[in-house]
Symmetry: none
Subunit: 287 residues, 2 copies
Amino acid sequence: MNETPKSFEALEARITEDYPSLSRRLQQTARFLLDHPQKVAFATVAKLAQEAEVTPSTLIRFANSCGFKGFSDMQELFRSRLVDELPNYTERIRAVLTATGEAPDSTQLLWEFAEANRDALEQLPGRIDPKHLEQALDILENAEAIHVLGARRSFVVASYVTYALHHIDKRAFLVNGLGGMYGEQMRAIGSDDALIAVSFSPYAEESRQAAEQAHERGIPIVVITDSSLSPMARLADVALVVHEAEVKSFRGLTASLCLTQTLAIALGMRKDKTLAPSSGAGDQEHA
Amino acid sequence: MNETPKSFEALEARITEDYPSLSRRLQQTARFLLDHPQKVAFATVAKLAQEAEVTPSTLIRFANSCGFKGFSDMQELFRSRLVDELPNYTERIRAVLTATGEAPDSTQLLWEFAEANRDALEQLPGRIDPKHLEQALDILENAEAIHVLGARRSFVVASYVTYALHHIDKRAFLVNGLGGMYGEQMRAIGSDDALIAVSFSPYAEESRQAAEQAHERGIPIVVITDSSLSPMARLADVALVVHEAEVKSFRGLTASLCLTQTLAIALGMRKDKTLAPSSGAGDQEHA
DNA sequence: GGGGTAATGGAATAAAAATTCCATGCATAC
DNA sequence: GTATGCATGGAATTTTTATTCCATTACCCC
């Protein structure tokens, strides 16, 4: 047996290394521990065992297999890790920012971005009108298939929406303009389908044109954009307006992703409710 | 006796207020608690008593005098402080959630997602090792061009990275496997280039193979993944591990996006510093 | 200075938690 | 099939930790 890890990082490395050779339950334990170091620091063996869905014995065995005398011994490392971390978020940013020269610029930046995006997310739910959200869901629910349009920065969101829709078993197509075929892809939209158009400033012309075309055909359109003044908004049956974080003139996407994630899961829950009123939406794995 | 404090802040206020009227030992205890909240969160009554140079009984008495049922009860607040920092937000969610019938499910869900993603973002900067971040930037800075690999859910992140890199005028290519040409695209990577591989559970086999191939060729690899147990992690020159929010078995992407955003901008700032030391990174528009 | 009151320390007790141990299950090799 | 070895769950045990209680001390008012 190797020597026992002396720091959290060492433990992490050790677990990573040993992982493949561990038994099923011990692997399960390993994953839980690395995924929830926070909880491990505080909770008791019994509580953790319950959460990780293993028995207390397994936790102890795991600790032993890492070379610790017992679970408590291992827990020490999880705790020491938290002690190093500063308690208050804003304080910590300030600490990093003022200690110029010590912490690298990149880490300061990471704190700034995280904080800015957190702000954006905090404001998001309050700014979205519940009525609009429901209307969007109505449209999507009634659609035979959903086509998703988004260029440049919006492409990221569009591809995520498509991915998420697939996961709830909703037919979805990403209008990606591959081979310069925006027009062709848009014409392939059936009359019972719907369109989700994502568009952020500076609004890509090709997206606008494509959306206009769909609008003329009477295809229902849900627009996700960053301003109600967006040229897309007036084409929309429902427009969802998202304010993104901005750091160093660079806009984030977290709020939009959060919104689209919600759209997809809410849609999934509606489907489940229709099909089997008793079950939840929790049956897609690792989505 | 007043009611028991429900948050660490409330407790702090309460102690401050009561302080003058406390006995000598209790004052001593109060000072110790406020000076070392960190320790209080973790240690046992006996240990703390020793450190504070009072007896265990005194600690218990103190907790009781603040209105708690026992010491453990009070310790809860010291712990919760280290874990979650905003009771306001959670309260708001709960308010929305309990007012069932009024707000539609979808809006509740939006609040949940926003909160979960905020959590993920809160933990992100503390979990990323500044050294790793710098190493990743070193690799990217020295690369002639950067290739970005990511399938399925990771594709969203990969395409965002590519987009962001273009915006800081770094040559970037998205390895998208279009036409089933993963192998071909990977072989097109030059010997002075670098690879960013994004991979989340369930780890896509095609990504692993592609990364393996690059690894054998000695191409520097930066991996962005959700667990240090990821099969990609061992191929990496630097592995950045991100914990994403999870609601209803559906994982978010906000933390990963935030991290990649940071990588791109930090890289941009380095370039600017090299070219014209006086200016910042703020010259790309609406990126 | 004496009697009372509140504070304190420490030992005894109760509660909770960690750990051990064994019976059972499961898979694999023969 | 059967036997063997490791993995697992759960109950029993031990250890640790929190709490209570009471004897002692310090302080204050009379």
